[in-house]
Symmetry: none
Subunit: 142 residues, 2 copies
């Protein structure tokens, strides 16, 4: 279970240190892919597999489903942690998330999100502004 928000820096080679508390759960490999709202989503391999199976099960007869399938797997990268517990973020994904030097690593229970500070701030701002309303709407779901 991943919790908390950590501010780390990408170095000149595009590497990002994963918080030490997360590393044990990621030792068997991770899959990094596009997340919602222009962040990156990092899944432990064990969490990725069932997701991949769902995507692979989509009907091949539908052109839209075929292309979706292609893009899901094509834009995903399976990575390993180096001896210092870092991942190397592919340039494509770095651009997608707008990552420069600073990055926020956010634990979201079963997966991990990686944000540029600016985009995270934008999300946090809207949460501040509409937080009460959102909470009220979601309260009915719990």
């Amino acid at each position: 279970m991943f919790l908390g928000r950590y501010a780390h820096n990408l170095d000149a080679k595009g590497r990002l240190a994963i918080p030490a508390r997360f590393r044990e759960a990621l030792a068997e490999g991770v899959v990094l892919t596009r997340g919602i709202d222009r962040c990156l989503a990092l899944y432990p391999m064990a969490a990725w597999r069932p997701l991949a199976e769902k995507v692979a099960a989509l009907p091949l007869t539908d052109a839209d489903a075929r292309n979706f399938r292609r893009l899901v797997f094509a834009e995903a990268a399976d990575l390993g942690l180096d001896a210092q517990g870092r991942i190397l973020i592919p340039p494509d994904l770095r651009r997608y998330a707008g990552l420069e030097r600073e990055a926020l690593i956010v634990g979201v229970d079963t997966s991990i999100e990686i944000w540029s500070p600016e985009r995270w701030q934008a999300v946090a701002d809207s949460l501040d502004a509409d937080g009460a309303e959102i909470a009220q709407r979601l309260a009915t779901l719990i």
Copy 2:
């Protein structure tokens, strides 16, 4: 499991280097054939066999099935990797996929697709110009 998108070049002889990460799974030979939507599909031999059996089992009484059978097997090529991990793409297939110099090698879970950059771009555009839709639709599957 094949993941990620790699940009490699065909050399003057029509050879294409397979990403090193994929090679281990392809060591026992591969089958290269026409893919859907004008790409090429590359299967590890182990994945090809059950696929071939399904196609072979199609009823011979149906004309479409007969033609499909011919297409699948006639255009398929069983290849090996050379000592540098490359495959030699037959001219017919190269023309089918519109491959010139650059090629994209795309991991699609159980198989690998080979695309000309232009056609791949069309696939990417078909979903969403900036790619954010992938993440959204993926999220709905969770």
